[in-house]
């Protein structure tokens, strides 16, 4: 997956978690927590969805990398570069 594809995938997970949220104005440099008021349960969900959909394992110590879209894509790129987009 390219960075852009990974971003799309994360957006899809966020849309799945928060169907009422308008994600079109998401600022990639700002934290999810502030923009969407995500809590620790939601971050666990992003991790679980990545595991479910792509078998990507994010250890608990690495959750800090999922703060914003930019940092998430940056972190996931090496883990997901060999995954084919379906």
């Amino acid at each position: 997956m390219t960075k852009e594809e990974i971003r799309e995938e994360v957006l899809d997970i966020l849309a799945d978690i928060a169907p009422d949220e308008d994600l079109s104005n998401l600022d990639d440099s700002q934290s999810f927590r502030e923009q969407m008021e995500l809590d620790s349960m939601d971050f666990l969900d992003i991790v679980m969805e990545l595991r479910k959909r792509h078998r990507v394992q994010v250890p608990e110590d690495d959750y800090v990398n999922l703060a914003s879209m930019n940092s998430t894509v940056e972190y996931l790129e090496p883990l997901m570069k060999d995954i084919q987009k379906v």
Binding site: D16, I17, A18, P19, D20, M36, E37, D39, M41, D42, L44, D45, M48, K52
Partner: protein, 460 residues
């Protein structure tokens, strides 16, 4: 071999089941009753639909709100706010002799009511509310403090203290006389700071949504499947035996049966020191009217009443029900976009002595239901318009009803007074959720199922 077996198809069990099935677990929910819902169930009688537990959903925040239990629940279960079809309350009231506090889903109304009727307490009330807003239910070290002591340290007018406790205790205190400060904060937020609402179709809408989702994710729901024993081996659960004799193997069990009830099921001889069961149970007189209450100009959603300055939250002594205080709920009086029907409903809930109710044989039980229906309603119409001439059908919910739907010891509506907030037990793969884990109300129960599933069943 199941990844997780869940005992009880109430709100918490169904919510936990959805979480686990969503993430690919093989999961089954085992329900003893022939229907789902537990305390929050529904039934049909003489052509009419009734809800068992639900008066109103608490924790109602508007669509788009990102904080609070409802928003969290929707995200965790992947529902949209609109799926629950919630209409807000019209407004409710707490009525004591010589004082009445109105409240709605706009907290400002309650603030102004307190300031108007208890002008000397307004600042103290605001201070207390700011403490309640900041209270962190996951970390706060003051969780176990006596709420009566904390509240009285702010508010010096005893009547106002009693009036604040009355609705919060009726809607969720398993403990007599007092509440834990943590529980008080959670209840205060859920009722006064967030608000009340109801789906047009009642609780069945929520249950049907949950079951449909659970099944679509591959979860199995087994009704009439009471668990007879939780099978253990050396500090570890290996499965369950059903009342029918069948055994089912599982890697872990999540039980919403209640703390004492779950401990008794374990076949290792209940080595854990036993805890007191809950004592507080309810009777509810249900009246079907030939017109909605708005026809006689009654628009309140809920009326909490108490006929003396002091509010008594304790098991009735000497009589089968305590009619000095109660909750009058009108399911018609929510802001629906269309009338609920041509008829109307009034429900009056009061404390009841489970021992006396359960001791009756069949004819006496039926007689008692009639006698107490009359006495409960007679007490209620001191505080709302007398609707008795409008009654076309009646039903009565007793502690026996609660036992039948929940299996709780003593028909304890909110379970045992001591809660197991972290959900763990003496067995490393047995966990509890639901009432005795510590969250009450429909939204609370769902959050309980979600949190315990996340914390204990999804980490491997």
């Amino acid at each position: 071999m199941y990844d997780t077996l869940i005992i009880g198809a109430g709100m918490s069990g169904l919510a936990a089941g959805i979480r686990l099935a969503h993430f690919g677990q093989r999961v089954a929910i085992l329900e003893r009753h022939y229907t789902i819902g537990g305390l929050n169930s529904f039934y049909r009688l003489r052509g009419r639909n009734y809800d068992v537990g639900l008066h109103a959903l608490t924790n109602i925040t508007p669509k788009g709100a990102k904080r609070g239990p409802l928003a969290r629940l929707l995200r965790q279960l992947r529902f949209s706010w609109d799926d629950f079809e919630i209409s807000p309350q019209n407004g409710s009231q707490i009525v004591f002799p010589g004082a009445k506090l109105s409240f709605s889903n706009e907290f400002e109304l309650m603030r102004s009511e307190v300031a108007r009727q208890f002008p000397g307490q307004a600042d103290a009330f605001d201070k207390m509310v700011s403490q309640i807003v900041d209270y962190d239910d996951l970390t706060d070290e003051h969780q176990q403090l006596s709420a009566r002591e904390v509240v009285s340290s702010y508010i010096t007018e005893p009547l106002l203290v009693e009036m604040l406790f009355c609705p919060l205790m009726f809607y969720g205190s398993a403990r007599e006389h007092d509440m834990d400060w943590g529980q008080f904060c959670i209840m205060f937020r859920s009722i006064f700071l967030e608000g009340l609402g109801r789906p047009f179709a009642g609780v069945r809408l929520i249950l049907k949504l949950l079951v449909k989702r659970f099944r679509s994710l591959g979860g199995e729901l087994k009704l009439r499947s009471g668990v007879k024993r939780i099978l253990t081996d050396d500090g570890h659960v290996c499965g369950v035996e059903l009342e029918g004799g069948e055994t089912i193997e599982a890697r872990r069990v999540l039980s919403s049966a209640g703390w004492c009830e779950t401990m008794r099921l374990c076949d290792d001889g209940d080595p854990v020191s036993s805890r007191a069961s809950g004592q507080l149970s309810f009777c509810e007189a249900i009246a079907t009217l030939d017109v909605p209450p708005s026809a006689f100009d009654y628009h309140q959603t809920i009326t909490f009443f108490n006929d003396s300055p002091e509010f008594h939250w304790t098991k009735p002594t000497g009589e089968m029900c305590d009619v000095r205080s109660g909750v009058i709920c009108s399911p018609d009086n929510f802001g629906y976009d269309r009338p609920l029907g041509e008829e109307g409903t009034m429900r009056v809930t009061v404390l009841a002595d489970q021992d006396r109710w359960m001791a009756l044989d069949d004819p006496d039980y039926r007689l008692a239901k009639h006698r107490w229906w009359d006495r409960i309603v007679e007490s209620a119409v001191r505080f709302v318009p007398d609707f008795r001439a409008r009654v076309i059908d009646t039903d009565m919910f007793t502690p026996g009803t609660i036992v039948r739907y929940t299996g709780h010891d003593n028909g304890a509506v909110y379970g045992a007074p001591d809660k197991q907030l972290d959900g763990t037990t003496h067995l490393d793969n047995l966990f509890v959720c639901g009432t005795d884990q510590g969250f009450v109300g429909i939204i609370g129960a769902i959050i309980s199922g979600i949190s315990m599933a996340n914390m204990h069943c999804l980490r491997d």
